[in-house]
């Protein structure tokens, strides 16, 4: 299983993502830099969290217009799996690869804590190792995770099963509409989510609920599969 991690100035969970992919796939991912215009053939491209370009202007806005994101868009169009976590999600949305927008948390504060996620769609390449409706634990750490989409878009993504993760059990930390925590594109190969599954994959993290996502995407059976 080959993976790639996108590196942009200001991202800071790149090392977390590289560690997670290395531990789960057994092989270190290749890294691609902001100015790279080509991405090698891989099964999964991950855009990690952080504050790309300081998140100045808007979160993910400047990163979304970097050369490497054009290359990501090309790969995505060819069906390569792409996952964006936190700032990665914001970048995918700003790049137009996913619908909607991520706004300032309703509390107006950065928030780092553990939340509960419901697997709203277990029938995707990224969630097939989870059971439908399964509740998993997930850490979050963000200032701008308040998902927004206009009525029409919302109807479309809800109707099309594009909502993959929802904050569960009253743990919505940011005011996201319909408790949306993660969405997928219509082709089912581009996923964005605010929580950090890469920070919950081993005993030292206090749990392994995040592994299922990467294992699904990489075709590895999960122990916790239903």
């Amino acid at each position: 299983m080959k993976t790639a991690v996108v590196l942009l100035p200001g991202l800071n969970r790149d090392r977390d993502m590289i560690a997670a992919l290395t531990k789960i796939s057994g092989k270190a991912p290749v890294t691609v830099w902001q100015t790279d215009t080509e991405i090698p053939d891989v099964d999964l491209i991950a855009i990690p969290g952080g504050f790309s370009f300081g998140d100045y202007l808007r979160c993910g806005a400047i990163a979304a217009r970097s050369p490497v994101m054009r290359a990501v868009a090309e790969k995505a169009a060819k069906g390569v799996q792409v996952i964006g976590v936190c700032n990665g999600f914001q970048i995918l949305v700003e790049a137009g690869l996913l619908p909607g927008a991520l706004m300032r948390n309703s509390s107006l504060k950065f928030v780092c804590r553990e939340v509960k996620l419901q697997v709203a769609n277990a029938n995707t390449a990224f969630t097939r190792n989870y059971a439908p409706g399964q509740i998993i634990r997930a850490p979050i750490a963000h200032h701008d995770g308040n998902y927004f989409a206009d009525d029409e878009t919302l109807k479309r993504i809800e109707g099309g099963g594009q909502v993959v993760f929802r904050y569960a059990e009253g743990t919505n930390p940011n005011g996201s509409i319909n408790d949306i925590a993660g969405i997928i594109n219509t082709n089912g190969n581009v996923l964005g989510l605010m929580p950090h599954p890469e920070n919950l994959i081993e005993a030292a993290h206090g749990g392994t609920d995040g592994r299922g996502l990467f294992e699904s995407a990489l075709g590895i059976p999960s122990r916790q599969a239903a």
């Binding site: 100035p9 200001g10 800071n12 969970r13 090392r15 977390d16 560690a19 997670a20 952080g50 504050f51 370009f53 300081g54 998140d55 100045y56 504060k109 950065f110 928030v111 780092c112 804590r113 850490p139 750490a141 200032h143 950090h196 890469e198 920070n199 030292a204 993290h205």
Partner: protein
Amino acid sequence: MTAQTNIAITPELIKAHGLKPDEYQRILDLIGREPSFTELGIFSAMWNEHCSYKSSKKWLRTLPTSGPLVIQGPGENAGVVDIGDGDCVVFKMESHNHPSYIEPYQGAATGVGGILRDVFTMGARPIAAMNALRFGAPDHPKTRHLVAGVVSGVGGYGNSFGVPTVGGEVNFDARYNGNILVNAFAAGIAKTDAIFYSKAEGVGLPVVYLGAKTGRDGVGGATMASAEFDDKIEEKRPTVQVGDPFTEKCLLEACLELMASGAVIAIQDMGAAGLTCSAVEMGAKGDLGILLDLDKVPVREERMSAYEMMLSESQERMLMVLRPEKEKEAEAIFRKWDLDFAVVGHTTDDLRFRIVHQGDEAANLPIKDLGDKAPEYDRPWVEPRKREPLAADDIPQADVADALLKMLGGPDLSSRRWVWEQYDTLIQGNSLQLPGGDAGVVRVEGHATKALAFASDVTPRYCEADPFEGGKQAVAECWRNLTATGADPLAATDNLNFGNPERPEIMGQFVHAIKGIGEACRALGFPIVSGNVSLYNETNGQGILPTPTIGGVGLLPDWSKMMRVGFAGERQVILLVGAPPAWGTHLAQSIYMRDIHGRTDGPPPPVDLAHEKRVGDFVRKLIRSGTATAVHDCSDGGLAVALAEMAIASGIGATIPGLTGTDPIPVFFGEDQGRYLVTLDLDPQSDGMTAIWDEAKSLGIHAPWIGTTGGAELKLGGARAIPVAELKSVHESWFPRFMDGK
């Protein structure tokens, strides 16, 4: 803005630079002529309290700073301690008090930025941060605004930079109304064979400026940090610098890449009085002169004078001496990260600090004298007044359950979740213990079992009542908190915050606190390897509580044996290890006396350092052998609060029958030192238990079985049982309610 080259040096100007007449005379004697305006600025920056430590140096020298594992003590950007396997931990704590009072968000943010830079300047990747914050009374009109701004600034910088904040302190006291304290700690990990220092070596080598451009930020800032506040403080606002964590993150990556390339001979971060202090330090340490050409300095404002450039505190900048043959490679790395890179001068053999600007020589000073010949004062001090102990029968009464709930739901003991949920505590994926326990714990990357523990402690009300005992206690509590996780305490950093040292009673506090710190560090084998002094924390003659913050680092050989504070299960034995026969006795200076009875008389609890060491080593052994199941130290609020915290952290209750025939108030609320709560999953009648008691006894340690875990209530002696859910809700509600203004 004029070029400011021909400004007359008047007594007013000298005074405005914070230089006393005798200090100015010293300058005249040193250079044999009147200094230029730029030179006056340079002297003022180098000789102010903040950079020169002129009031504190004499006493700082008395602290123990070495040990078998210490690689670098005070004097560099940060201290360095060996943690084995070729790795070392690099750490320091530094204050950003005055800037944070003036502009809380930027002041706190740049404080965090500065301390992170100190750590990565030495070649370490930052892995943990802490913040010790002291604010004024909750009902003071500025407090809420300052808390909101400081917390958001700490988070804004640290989160974006990408370092987990794993611990810290937040306290309130009216004595900080006009002078809040923001003490920022950072630690990083480096390879012992790849530590970088500020000492320049070699003549004619390029001095390179790296990072962000220079603006007029903070011109005069270091002078401000050493000035007492008055009512005109608001006018000082424009000198506050603005942080850019994005640039700092790029600077970190670029510096580490550059260091790995072998290009770096010496490196110094530009902090207070940036270009001046960093260049002088690099040259003076290496017995070299430095020539700087200011026309080469990257600037972001027009028509900057030499004076402004030399005193600018623009953030996210570094100065390096590079190997000439690696210059191109170094430049390419910095260009990749879109950072400025400019050769701004070179090292010389004339021991002069020379500044050239637009064809003029703006300064030409003896470089060694700028640092070494700074004034040093043996300031007069008076013995702090000893406080009379409370009378034996002076035990003000209250209902134990009511008092506990009031204390847990008060400003000092309530949960700080509101604060630390605004900090990224999880980034880097190595955090094993988050804020809220005894110490933050972080795995050592690349090692299967090792972890580092971090704690920050001081009890300012103890220091006020007795600076010597308070200094001892700050060190002992920090050492105790590290021990409670199972770590071997390695070394510490001190951040000494006091009032105006020109007042003998303040100087007396300082001297005694240092004596106490030194004694405790020697007794516990816990050297001070870095630190910072912040004096003149006064407004209109009212000084802060003496606050010598101690930031400690410990090493856990195997984190799978790490202890947490929460009860680990039902029906477990609770021992109070290190207790006096009556469990608790010392009420003076306790939170109970202050918050329930409004009393602040009497001496603080004394620390018996030999006992402290024995008890700590015994507890650590119980942890390492896998016998202990949960450990928590007893500190503010005494036994009752420590038990409540263990219950809240786990959701499990406990029953503590109490001592018959003994007044429960000192038992539950006394703040006797050197005590740990340790739970064991053992039958009290078993041989294993007997063996533990035998060993404790042989060491002269009293470790009474005080109760048992279980149920959903905390029952203390004859007091009414309190549901753990109620404890938790009281504990969690004060901070958010306060910040909501309700």
